[in-house]
């Protein structure tokens, strides 16, 4: 069979794996939903959780589609589709593809036609490099979570602080990233202030939603506060970028 990076056979192979991953998500959704009902949670509450998660996901998922488009210039559609549907993210996949391509004397972004050998090599490097999380969670996930449960049994207050500290630790790293280029402003380059302004806009919208929720008691505000803040923040990037670039 003649090779092409967009061969229908590759679409079928990628499609089968994506279908399996979709089935896994549906399986866990049904399992957790049934358990939630058994625990006495109302269908209305669960539907609200699901609806918010779905709406919130749309913008980041579109960003992932753009990543697929970026990678497809070199690798065709099936491989980026597979890699960004299963495990991957743009920064990882770009670095993995760049390393694999440069190991064969190619330059990422300037590849015009891969051979089957090159394609198999790149796909192998990208796949093997990313797999650790998939097998490590089955290996140590239960031990880690049992540790958290035991911590809760020993000292409930510390267990709560422990969980909150983990969340805050993660958020702190991303807040730091938002400010990573602000020093440029002292040299007349204000681009580094763009993410800071977006961050402030989004935080302000979330704050306003919180105040509105307190004032009105309308539950839907809480359901949509995060998606609304995300979308307003992203939309604000258009004028702010034009202003500070």
């Amino acid at each position: 069979m003649e090779f092409s990076i967009n061969s229908p056979v590759l679409f079928v192979l990628a499609g089968i794996i994506v279908a399996v991953v979709l089935a896994q998500s549906v399986y866990f959704l049904v399992k957790a939903w049934r358990r939630a009902k058994a625990l006495g949670m109302s269908t209305d509450k669960l539907k609200r959780i699901a609806r918010t998660a779905a709406i919130f996901t749309i913008a980041p998922a579109i960003a992932i589609v753009i990543s697929v488009m970026t990678l497809s210039k070199d690798l065709g559609l099936p491989l980026p589709w597979l890699r960004l549907s299963v495990v991957g993210n743009l920064s990882y996949e770009t670095i993995a593809a760049t390393n694999a391509e440069s190991a064969m004397g190619l330059t990422f972004g300037q590849v015009s036609g891969l051979s089957a050998t090159q394609y198999v090599t790149i796909a192998s490097v990208m796949t093997i490099s990313i797999l650790v999380g998939i097998w490590l969670v089955p290996l140590i996930g239960k031990k880690l979570l049992t540790g958290v449960i035991n911590l809760e049994k020993r000292d409930k207050k510390w267990a709560d602080i422990f969980q909150n500290s983990m969340f805050i630790g993660m958020i702190s790293a991303f807040v730091g990233y938002v400010f990573c280029d602000v020093a440029g402003a002292f040299k007349g380059d204000f681009k580094g202030l763009i993410p800071v302004c977006i961050f402030i806009v989004s935080a302000a919208v979330m704050g306003i939603c919180g105040l509105l929720l307190k004032k009105t008691g309308k539950r839907w505000i809480m359901d949509y506060a995060l998606p609304i803040s995300l979308i307003v923040g992203m939309a604000a990037a258009i004028p702010i970028t034009a202003w500070l670039s």
């Binding site: 959780i49 998660a53 097998w135 993660m170 807040v175 763009i194």
Partner: protein
């Protein structure tokens, strides 16, 4: 209690089966492509590419697993480590859902809520990517339009601005030290940027845990 352990145990059992199965399927992709097109890998390129890529990502994956699993819960972890995009999508979705449902991450209610949110998010993401692949020709000029580029470039600041204000305002004492550390590090060290923020997450988590423990022992929390 027995019931809770049974559910969690079954999540671990099912998660292990699914993840190992998906791993085998993923490894089968390059193998099947090679067999169908009768082409083996370029072993030199494969070794060089793997040496350049794998050690760093394997190390990051180990640290990410240890860091993210306690936050994601059992079902959420098995799903998130298969579907990816953890810090920029799955974890924020789970955190928001826990907040929305007003349940603790370590409770069984938190476990099911987090799993439901992550599963829905995974399904929606997968469907949107499928739509994107099917409609790539008409969508490419729209999504790659220069006017929209800043929106997607600034997704993380928009996301963490909203999430940050909620969690930081509720945990001010815990947040002060890690925020100062991360701001100083990211501003002072040029190598810390968008592509290295993932590596700094475990650093932030460990530092925060250490500081919180210290403050807790001194009765400050």
């Amino acid at each position: 209690m027995k019931k809770q352990m049974n559910y969690i145990d079954s999540v671990h059992r099912d998660g292990r089966i699914w993840n190992i199965f998906v791993m085998i399927m993923m490894l089968a992709f390059p193998v099947a492509a090679g067999l169908i097109f009768q082409a083996g890998p370029d072993w030199h390129g494969f070794a060089m590419g793997l040496v350049a890529t794998a050690p760093m990502y394997w190390a990051v994956a180990v640290v990410e697993t240890i860091t993210y699993v306690p936050m994601l819960g059992a079902g959420g972890s098995y799903l998130s480590f298969v579907t990816g995009n953890i810090s920029n999508l799955k974890l924020p979705v789970a955190l928001n859902a826990l907040e929305q449902a007003d349940v603790k991450a370590s409770s069984e209610e938190g476990e099911v809520i987090s799993t439901i949110a992550i599963a829905v998010s995974s399904i929606v993401t997968t469907i949107i990517i499928i739509l994107g692949v099917v409609l790539i020709r008409p969508l490419t000029p729209v999504l790659n339009a220069p006017v929209l580029a800043p929106c997607f470039a600034q997704m993380l600041p928009a996301l963490f601005g909203a999430l940050g204000v909620v969690f930081i305002s509720k945990n001010v004492k815990i947040a002060v030290a890690p925020l100062i550390l991360m701001l100083v590090l990211f501003i002072a060290v040029p190598a810390l940027n968008a592509s290295t923020v993932g590596i700094m997450v475990p650093v932030g988590v460990l530092f925060t845990l250490g500081m919180s423990r210290l403050m807790y022992r001194k009765g400050m929390l």
